[in-house]
Symmetry: C2
Subunit: 457 residues, 2 copies
């Protein structure tokens, strides 16, 4: 066979060991925190029935779903008319019954509805799996990426919101990143729309003010006018979305404004309950009530959460909120849920930019034994075996190659130590241990090596 | 919208928390051992270019590859002739440029060739990712399943084979499963074919004797005759494939037989070197030289490894071997590799059948605080927070529901302990802790709870 070129589909990525180790560090940190808070893992298949996914992400989203061709004679289900003048839009649902999941939320809703009798509610689950989108690839946007979601369904308690904020704080504290958590509540946004006499324009208003950070107040006002909002309503909106003061001060003003707007008042009270929880249960991150926070997704019905790095220029690195009736479309009504999703790719970029990945997250093993040939190899292998039994990740170069080559390998792999046991060491029952960072070298009794290395950590 | 039925594509699976936790226990055990031996993770995309996969798995394998429909107007690349009388076999490669990976081996070969300049050789990598096959679903055979592979490429040293056997032994010892490791060498099989004067029939011979365990010697002989092997060759084969004695006795006899068959002799010597390594570096599993071991895959060129449970009826639960020139098709010649693959689904079934999953692998969190309402909740949350800071996975029921309901939740979720802090406990600064297994209940000072729970583990 001729040599094939090696490439991967655009928008997808290979991860080399150093990258994969850093990614694992992020996923493991998030997973450990999820578990600490009692969230249990679930997994759903990469492929869902096309009908499960279609119509859930809007018209644009539907186009971005990767479809899987039916196996075998995929044209057998097409009618003679469809085949006589094939049209791709008509043919697509006939020849593809399955598709790759586009997010974890819709599969989760399907899962909860399907397994309702096997689940105990409130159901706290986490899910860390890849999703696929046929988006135009660009910097920071991929066609395959992981989502790291935690959700509670079947409980209206605002304790859940507070706990998710704890989780966010705990994860970023473990990752050594300073973040700001922005909070809002969809009911406040609805209240605002009612207050300015434009209850039907809630979507236009939230879409526009969601852009406040990016395009500024003036352009937002232009957009609102273009959407048909009367000038007076736009003017009424200004003081509300630019409320200032502490979180409690903002809430106080809102409650006054919403004195005759029950939905808005409820939103303000919900936020206050969440903030009150954090009084008893303080977190390290700054928490800011931000009325311009709307997020694109239309399905949030209560609390809205967004997290940004305070140290790097980057969009939202985690987001979430409460949604009512997510599972209704799958026949399970009245189940409210609240969840968050960590953006692992963006968190990766921030950690890399700030140099915050710990050394331990970037090397596979700690010690490399050089290989000096048969007899020394046997001696080294026994010591190596003892290290591994003590949980110290270590290896031996598999053949007595030139020392220069072995050292080059040690350097490129990032071992903290190189262990050498030649004839002299073997006779004395010792090992020479070289610190690859400082260059220091010391002689250690073979039987003490595991202990010496553990002490160095 | 109307209610949708909830189902997933046939041959795929949802994993509920209990299953997902047990699966994670297997994956984590395997991963930890891989890392202990210096193997580093890589990840490749779920989608590969169709051309990367086609022709690598035989004609049958090609049919089992899931193809991904090109996005947008997928018919735009089809010619008018192709569209005039659409034929599925002709159309398929035109409308699908990408496919889901079928295994981890071919993507790994592509990866090594593509990233050759970024990798240090010998390259020891592990990879735990799902693969997809459009196989007919049946018991124990799924359309989506995980492979757990470790390979070393760029080193001919048989130390690698010995180390992979160590890894196998270590993994199954940690999983508390007694296994038998079967070894053979493809060069011995070639030597046998030469010895009986049928060097061209090596594939037929190995395919037939691979079935020895399943269909018995008589049927194997019939199959060999049907493949055109003369009676005399079949007779010559009998004593060889049913050699008896210890591993070293078998090797001794083989070396005598192969006195004039260099390839066979080399195979015997390779196996002896591997067994010699295990003398210096003993493992707990039984190791058996089994000349009937051929394994289906045609690409092994040296050592062949297969692992079976000694306690449960189950096919091979791990397999592997050495392959030369895996990356040749992708333009990188002369790179030899050796690897193993753990069959996580079968290992799962064996562990479940034998009841070997540890308790700790089956529960998300250890302690549930019951919720008695506002004031008690505040008190409980602070204690809960201290537990979590001590790494004890725990949660509080998110609302003051009926105690019966909260206890039902505790039972179904499998918490080891339920913590209760009502008015009396709050006044005394204590917590009542109930052991859910024994029913025992004790009063503990709130500040001592983390310590008490850690001691119980």
């Amino acid at each position: 066979m001729a040599t094939q070129k090696t490439s991967i589909p655009k928008g997808t990525r290979d991860f080399l060991p150093a990258e994969a180790l850093r990614r694992a560090y992020i996923f493991d940190t998030i997973k450990d925190v999820f578990k600490l808070y009692g969230y249990a893992p679930i997994e759903t298949p990469a492929m869902e029935n096309l009908s499960t996914l279609m119509g859930k992400y809007g018209e644009e989203g539907d186009k971005l779903i990767f479809r899987i061709l039916n196996s075998g004679d995929f044209l057998s289900k097409a009618s003679p008319v469809q085949l006589a003048a094939p049209n791709w839009q008509e043919l697509s649902p006939v020849i593809c019954e399955k598709a790759l999941r586009y997010d974890l939320t819709v599969p989760f809703a399907r899962f909860v509805a399907q397994h309702r009798s096997e689940i105990s509610f409130p159901f706290k689950r986490y899910q860390i799996q890849p999703v696929w989108r046929a988006d135009r690839p660009q910097k920071g946007r991929y066609r395959e990426f992981f989502q790291c979601d935690a959700d509670v369904v079947g409980s209206d308690s605002l304790l859940n919101e507070a706990e998710l904020l704890q989780i966010i704080d705990n994860v970023f504290s473990k990752l050594n990143l300073k973040v700001r958590i922005k909070l809002n509540n969809r009911k406040i946004l609805s209240g605002v729309a009612q207050l300015i006499g434009q209850p039907d324009k809630i979507t236009d208003i939230t879409v526009a003010i969601d852009k406040l950070d990016k395009i500024g107040q003036e352009k937002v006002n232009e957009e609102l006018a273009a959407k048909g909002l009367p000038e007076i309503a736009i003017q009424q909106l200004q003081p509300i979305i630019s409320l200032s003061g502490s979180n409690y001060e903002k809430l106080g003003k809102l409650k006054e404004l919403f004195i005759n707007t029950p939905e808005g008042l409820k939103g303000a009270e919900e936020l206050q309950t969440v903030l009150d929880y954090l009084q008893d249960w303080p977190i390290g991150a700054d928490v800011e009530l931000d009325l311009s926070l709307a997020r694109g997704l239309n399905y949030y019905t209560g609390c809205i959460i967004e997290v940004k790095s305070e140290e790097a220029e980057m969009g939202s690195i985690t987001g979430g909120g409460r949604y009512d009736n997510l599972t209704g479309i799958f026949g399970l009504e009245g189940v409210s849920g609240v969840g968050i999703s960590f953006g692992a790719d963006r968190i990766y970029d921030v950690l890399l930019e700030l140099g915050r990945f710990p050394e331990s997250a970037q090397a596979a093993a700690q010690v490399l034994f050089l290989n000096f040939g048969a007899a020394d190899e046997t001696y080294s292998i026994k010591i190596l075996d003892a290290l591994r039994k003590n949980g110290i990740a270590s290896e031996i170069y598999p053949e007595p190659a030139k020392i220069k080559k072995q050292m080059a390998y040690a350097n490129s792999r990032g071992f903290a130590y190189v262990a050498m046991a030649g004839e002299a060491e073997r006779a004395a029952g010792t090992v020479s241990l070289k610190n690859m960072l400082t260059g220091d070298q010391q002689i250690i009794q073979a039987g003490m090596l595991a202990q010496a290395l553990s002490a160095k950590n």
